[in-house]
Symmetry: C2
DNA sequence: TCTATATTGTGAAAAATATCAGAGGAGGTA
DNA sequence: TACCTCCTCTGATATTTTTCACAATATAGA
């Protein structure tokens, strides 16, 4: 673990590369160049080569990259070779949509437990996922050895729930609430703030029109980077 | 419009500041310092001061910032002083969750029209929002002068829908599909890729443990910056 | 085998972002 | 008024990220 010092910006693009490599593999492609990849993921080809180079020499000059080998490499790098169980805290509208989202499809990630306060939800099974009482959260998290949680609860109890997650041994939190929760430094928090996103988008279309932007480029930006947190 | 050259990183943090300022205002606070703000939004105080300074001298030395004045300033800057109508393309699980999300609450943003292909949805009203046939999309977008759309359709038709959105005059797209759509350069696309987010989070907790990270800092990262796109 | 073409890997430069640190006020108190 | 404390604003610096541009080298074809 930890070849160390993969820039964060690079790390955030890895899933993007991985997904497209899987697509190419399923389409029967054997090789791909950084230029082709660039078109699909909308990341400059030099950036792609630089990103890959942090992991060593993965390609061949004059040839490109071997799709299958690269896909397998990223699969390992992204821990896709083993199943990651995730807990869903708060089974409301958004929570239920995420249950239906099926992260599993092509990904070794699944929501394996839900938690809520509502009596009518507790004890039921949604999309194959059992919903527990939020009071059992700490012990269930420990018992099921879950180390990633998705937080979709009302803002008012976001911090409280974050504290419980920490107590339950979770190491990563995907926070959909607008609250920036306080957690110990070793815990990773990624914020996905939908209202923020929308406001930023609106700000951009009104003030940036199309300044800069490379002539040809059709889209851009840091995928998600923004939605986030913890560096 | 366009005081020009507000760094993108700064722009992405504005909604965060704005939200907290509203909270302070409602709590009756009259002034706030960058240090206090920093605690709440988890952004370094020097970064906050720098961000604010791009808009001129908004604070007073030795005093801090006037909450109400600053809130109003950001409200204008973020176009919160007028209502922004948004279209929802694809009323599936995620789409419906977003309809329930109520962006409007405290924000001048609302989903004003939904589009789908399903006969059982077309013509109905969800959360007060009428759902139209996707075939009427271009004309409805034009008629209703909508310039922001949320894309929550199956990947297979993401590009096709993006093309229609462009035809309908939309200037900003919040893309929830994993496809990086191709659009003319003047159209802004922000990608919110949930699977990506989760994979990145898992990568981080496995490889970054807690390297760097300032001693005291409890959380961090670029809020959203990452979830995104178009620069 | 030779040559033309494709495409990586990477120094070096540029651009964007974040942080430090201190001069300069502002407000409050006696 | 004098003085102390708080806190902004900003030049300078550090860090991170992106991009340029080209030597190196693999493949394909003649």
């Amino acid at each position: 673990m930890a070849e160390k010092k993969i820039p964060k910006a690079t790390a955030r693009r890895l899933p993007l590369y991985y997904r497209y490599l899987r697509f190419l593999y399923e389409a029967g492609k054997e090789r791909v160049s950084s230029a082709k990849l660039s078109e699909a993921v909308k990341v400059d080809s030099a950036t792609i080569r630089r990103d890959f180079s942090y992991f060593g020499a993965l390609g061949k000059r004059g040839y490109g990259y071997d799709v299958e080998a690269l896909m397998n490499f990223f699969s390992k790098t992204l821990n896709q070779d083993r199943l990651t169980n995730v807990a869903l805290i708060g089974v409301g509208n958004l929570g239920q949509a995420l249950l239906n989202y099926n992260f599993r499809r092509n990904n070794n990630i699944r929501i394996s437990a839900g938690f809520d306060v509502k009596d009518e939800l507790i004890g039921t099974i949604h999309q194959g996922v059992p919903i527990y009482d939020i009071n059992e959260m700490v012990e269930q998290l420990e018992m099921q050895q879950i180390d990633v949680a998705i937080l979709t609860v009302p803002s008012e109890i976001a911090q409280e729930m974050a504290d419980k997650l920490v107590k339950g041994g979770v190491r990563g939190i995907m926070n959909f609430t607008p609250i920036r929760v306080t957690v110990p430094q070793e815990i990773r928090v990624h914020n996905v703030d939908l209202t923020n996103e929308l406001q930023t988008l609106i700000y951009f279309i009104n003030y940036y029109q199309d300044f800069d932007k490379k002539e040809e480029k059709e889209t851009s930006d840091n995928p998600l980077n923004d939605l986030f947190y913890n560096e």
